[in-house]
């Protein structure tokens, strides 16, 4: 049996053929600039942009006027954090986030910390959740913004968004959430969850790359942002630049499909994810689930395989695409900061694999993956000195290792 299995859907997803079909006219005949008000090319582009805006707004229970198009979630995160911090600097200069946010949130926060702001980085619990009590404890009179993700990209853990949003409301603090991984996978309601700013992306939901959106609340309260770039005053002045019409059409179509299929698709994905965990945990000892069993994205499974290094493990099933928290897969030579942030030791982080399932995965994919992973783990454990030491009854935590 020869096949290729893609289980890295948290990195990016393939374009859904239905999305491509919706986009094609806007890559060909309907090439107008949505800002051209004087002819039909502009009008049809604008119409498409507004349709996309409505589709995305509906998916998060927002008003279409509250959707700002961006180039992706990284830009959305930057615009939300830097834009709000700069706009409300006269109210205060304290921002709250967590250690395991995406770098697109953490890095702007570091930038703020180096430029006269104070940033509190909350430490999530061992499963990756930040509690509302933790947030309440650090809110101050000069806190202007809290930024906490809906779901973590590496471990899939979901934060108690509604509770955190309510706590922010009580104190009049703006609440931004990076919904990149959660959007289209779990229900999100900006009203119920008290969200003021929300980042999302097209390519994580079977839409195109290079398009994202930022939800910016217009009432209770009306949120204003200082733009990051200046120009033609598009997107209510918050994001100048000619709109990416095919991208917007694609993101809108992808959002509509994801919203419509969510109930059945989440149940299906959760079933496959649990089948994969069963396929691994029933055949292997010494494996650890990273994240929260109860509050987790339906598609994400992060597992550490004791005594086996992640990159070498991936080499053992090179017809299956996954990702690892091992340092060897990054240029930094540091293992996953997310796993470190939730207290997973570096040794287990090096041994971690993230399986992120998607719309096009089948039961056969999952069974094949379980089989291949089990074989690779066994192959590597047969040549692992750590496995040998553990079998000899040596407590690895007591060994004096010499780093290099």
């Amino acid at each position: 049996m020869s096949r290729f299995v893609y289980l890295d859907n948290n990195a990016t997803t393939p374009l859904d053929p239905r999305v491509l079909e919706a986009m094609l006219p806007y890559l060909q005949d309907k090439f107008g600039n949505a800002a051209s008000r004087s002819h039909r090319f502009g009008w049809e582009a604008e119409e498409a942009v507004e349709k996309g805006r409505a589709q995305v707004a509906t998916a998060i229970h927002a008003d279409p006027k509250e959707i700002i198009w961006t180039s992706g979630a990284t830009e959305s995160d930057n615009l939300a954090i830097l834009g709000a911090a700069r706009m409300y600097a006269d109210r205060g200069k304290h921002v709250v986030t967590s250690l395991i946010e995406h770098k697109a949130v953490i890095d702007p926060c570091h930038y703020l910390a180096q430029n006269g702001y104070e940033v509190t980085f909350l430490t999530p619990d061992r499963t990756g959740r930040v509690s509302v009590e933790q947030v309440r404890q650090v809110l101050r009179d000069d806190t202007i913004l809290v930024s906490l993700m809906v779901a973590n990209n590496e471990i899939g853990t979901l934060n108690p968004l509604g509770e955190i949003g309510a706590a922010c409301k009580e104190r009049g603090v703006l609440f931004h959430t990076d919904a990149t991984q959660a959007f289209g996978k779990v229900p999100i309601d900006v009203e119920v969850m008290g969200i003021d700013l929300l980042s999302l992306s097209g390519h994580k939901i079977y839409g195109p790359k290079g398009i994202g959106a930022l939800y910016v609340r217009r009432r209770n309260p009306r949120v204003r942002l200082q733009p990051l770039q200046y120009g033609g005053g598009h997107e209510r002045g918050m994001r100048s630049g000619t709109l990416n019409v095919p991208g917007i059409v694609g993101l809108g179509a992808a959002a509509e499909i994801a919203l419509g299929e969510m109930p059945a698709e989440s149940a299906r994905l959760a079933g496959l994810r649990d089948r994969l965990w069963a396929g691994l945990s029933e055949r292997l000892t010494g494996i650890v689930l990273n994240g929260n069993v109860e509050h987790r994205l339906p598609n994400t499974l992060n597992v550490s395989f004791l005594y086996v290094e992640g990159e070498s493990l991936m080499m053992g099933f090179n017809d299956i695409a996954v990702s690892s928290g091992s340092a060897c897969t990054s240029a930094s030579l540091e293992p996953s900061y997310v796993l470190k942030g939730i207290g997973v030791g570096d040794d287990l982080a090096h041994s971690s694999i993230r399986f992120s399932l998607g719309r096009f995965n089948t039961t056969e994919d999952i069974d094949y993956t379980a089989e291949r992973v089990v074989a690779a783990v066994n192959h590597l454990r047969s040549m692992s000195p750590l496995q040998e030491m553990a079998e000899a009854g040596i407590d690895l935590s007591t060994v004096q290792w010499a780093g290099h």
């Binding site: 990159e311 570096d346 000195p385 690895l396 290792w401 290099h404």
Partner: protein, 142 residues
């Protein structure tokens, strides 16, 4: 990043995986690296009376390049005298396996493991044939 064919070959068909009796007076063991760093190599050599390596075994926790580096090291060690073995340089391993720059530390670790194993067997031999076997070898400083 694509792996060279030689790395893949050593990964799929590692040479000389296993363990020698570390308590034998003519067996040297080197353990280098740390689990927190993502690499641990255990390399063992058995020498004859003329200080020639008659057997070599390894076990490695680490990436594919680390596994290939230690597997290759055991291949190269067999048949060499200890003096010849000390001539093996990490750069030789880099060249043979076409290791990319980010994987050079794997070859350094393999050279460290070779040196640690040689030092261990030389220390045992210096203690004389009747020397008490060493306890569980501790990881060597690198």
């Amino acid at each position: 990043m694509a792996y060279s064919d030689k790395i893949v070959d050593h990964y799929q068909n590692p040479r000389n995986v296993g363990a020698l009796d570390k308590n034998l007076p003519n067996v040297g063991t080197g353990i280098v690296g740390a689990p927190e760093c993502g690499d641990v190599m255990k390399l063992q050599i058995m020498v004859d009376d003329d200080d020639r390596v008659v057997d070599a075994k390894f076990k490695t926790f680490g990436c594919g390049s680390a596994i290939a580096s230690s597997s290759l090291a055991t291949e190269w060690l067999k048949g060499k005298t200890l003096d010849e073995a000390l001539q093996i340089r990490n750069t030789d391993i880099v060249k043979e396996l076409s290791l990319p720059p980010v994987k050079i530390h794997c070859s350094v670790l393999a050279e460290d493991a070779i040196r640690a194993a040689i030092a261990d067997v030389q220390r045992k031999k210096a203690g004389g044939a009747d020397a008490v076997p060493e306890p569980t070898p501790q990881p060597q400083k690198v």
